[in-house]
Subunit: 368 residues, 2 copies
């Protein structure tokens, strides 16, 4: 996949979509591309409004366009009252996949067929959100929902289409409050269960596996859900029968997005003003360092984004915390091949809460 | 390449080296493996002593062994008087390259031949150093010198041998002092010139190319030298004729290592106690964020190290700064696809020194 867009000979999906947007309002009969764009923009606005209310400070909104179609809106609140850094981004990309990217896509997405052509038009729309609060008692949260589609450039309107949804949300606390983890997971599980009882356990396990730092042998946080490649064949393999798989999955994704504010707002409300010590702030900074390690070393979205020509780097790296810290051989979270010695055991005293979260990160729990 | 070591059928180079170390002192007739180990350990000790003197605080030294041969010494000074974090590491690795790693090695190193076997024993020895001072007027510095060798496991003592040297050193200032950059480059150039007049220009250009963040379109710092794959065929292609290429290159590497303290100590001495403002400290933190981005996203040593089984992660990530910061769309160093607007031009006022270093990072200079 590449961010490069080249001129197409036949009318492209960019042109088609531009025309449709001018002609009528987006409805259930509009192409999924436009419905997804509408959905994520509505949620972006709603989330930004609610977070501004909580913080008391407004987001800075940057709207940008891509040279050959698409664009995005990056909303960032930096150095706020509650949030050190909060980013809520929408991006809409019309592009072209060259041959090697098609092959790569086939390897990554089992469901991906792709016509036997030198290039394929693609469309990608997503909402990405990362919130890093100041208070070390308040957890970082991440959410991403996306829709992807490829279209045969020889027949953009009727050509064979591949599409899938991906997404998820996960919570990264500095200190463990089991009731927060339970509330977060319960809210997401409820949204999943309304669609299919197998979704939550499947996507919860997927999340624990994805947000994992192998070199630290620890999870990034207490998880949530993560999924990708949700398409017609996924539905067939699940217990849900559907006349219209795209519609069925769009409905699931809509509910997932709608569950975000109820899953996080009660948590931030009860943690944002809790008292904390400088030592607790420092522990938060060390945990932020791990967040940076995950995002820069392992996150596919980030590493892919940074290597995409003409990508909007500032929006991709919005996920990084405002500040982070690293320590050599931290006695609680350090990664060693040797056993801790007695000196460390001594240093560990009074670090019960830091040890508690490390235990959860090393051994993911079932929260609901 | 992998960190895994498996038992060999015939006497291994580990066993050979252990025996040699017991029998006699290391001399010019000892295998290069042992001479390189001795050289880097001597320099580690000398550098650590000098840096302790400058800081006033002692390094913490951890000696560790690998299960099947080799080990290392990690010396770290954290939260010192002059240095936020200073790491000086030696590592000695005896391991085995499986078939896919041999193929990868062939692709990375043109000179690499490799016997037609399923696996090859290898040896790697290196000294790595990263110093992050507190004072934003004092630059971060990095150095790495290494030696690599592979041996046919069927005939470890007389078998066909591949070997090469790699290394370099580079300077990363937060604020530009041209006299510092000049002194650093001049000292290295003098060391290079004593061996071959073509080395410095060649290795300076290699350094600017290697320590580059494509997604930010900027260099990590003001450069220095970087080289890899220095072996017999490299010498043939250069103007230096040599009866003993390994000896000739070892002598160059020894001089390179010896030039480190003279290249950096005068700089840290004159910058460590300079006055600075909180804004200048914050600018340093943003630049540290870029250092983290380079090391975690692009540096081959780091990404390779983190993926090596049983690697000592704490020693690899010692290169990360104690603290770092990220800002969305920083008016001076931000990465945008759009042109800066007038509001930004306004914010830019009084940021002459920050703009000055950005200009150097975007357009590498000839310092000597």
């Amino acid at each position: 996949m590449t961010g490069e867009v080249t001129e197409l000979d036949s009318p492209s999906i960019v042109e088609l979509d531009e025309a449709l947007k001018k002609q009528a309002t987006i409805s259930e009969t509009s192409p999924m591309r436009l419905r997804m764009e509408k959905l994520i923009k509505e949620h972006q606005q709603k989330i930004v409004e609610e977070l501004s209310r909580i913080d008391g400070k407004q987001f800075k909104s940057d709207e940008w366009t891509r040279p050959n179609g698409g664009g995005g809106i990056s909303c960032v609140l930096q150095d706020g009252n509650v949030f050190e850094k909060a980013g809520v981004n929408v991006s809409i990309v019309y592009g072209e996949l060259p041959r090697p990217a098609i092959e790569k896509m086939r390897a990554d997405h089992k469901s991906f067929v792709g016509a036997d052509v030198d290039s394929l038009s693609f469309f990608a729309a997503g909402l990405s959100l990362v919130l890093h609060p100041h208070n070390p008692m308040a957890p970082t949260v991440h959410l991403n929902y996306r829709y992807f589609e490829t279209t045969d450039p020889k027949d953009p309107i009727n050509g064979d289409k591949n599409w899938w949804f991906g997404g998820g949300t996960d919570l990264t606390p500095t200190y463990l409050f089991p009731e927060d983890a339970k509330h977060f997971h319960q809210t997401i599980k409820d949204a999943c269960d309304r669609h299919d009882a197998t979704y939550y356990p499947k996507f919860k396990a997927w999340c624990d596996k994805y947000f994992y730092l192998p070199h630290r042998r620890e999870c990034r946080g207490v998880g949530g859900i993560f999924f990708d490649d949700l398409d017609a064949s996924f539905l067939e393999s699940s217990s849900t029968s559907s006349q219209n798989p795209q519609e069925t999955l769009f409905s699931f994704v809509s509910d997932g997005l709608a569950s975000f504010l109820p899953s996080y707002v009660p948590i931030i409300e009860r943690r944002k003003d809790m008292p904390f010590t400088p030592e607790q702030k420092e522990w938060q900074q060390l945990r932020r360092g791990r967040y940076v390690e995950f995002n820069l070393v392992y996150d596919r979205g980030t590493s892919f984004g940074l290597r995409t020509p003409n990508a909007r780097v500032e929006s991709i790296l919005m996920s990084l915390p405002r500040t982070a810290s690293w320590a050599y051989m931290d006695p609680v979270s350090g990664t060693r091949t040797e056993e801790p010695d007695s000196e460390e055991a001594l240093l560990n005293q009074g670090k019960e809460h830091e040890k508690e979260i490390m235990d959860v990160l090393r051994h993911p729990r079932q929260w609901v």
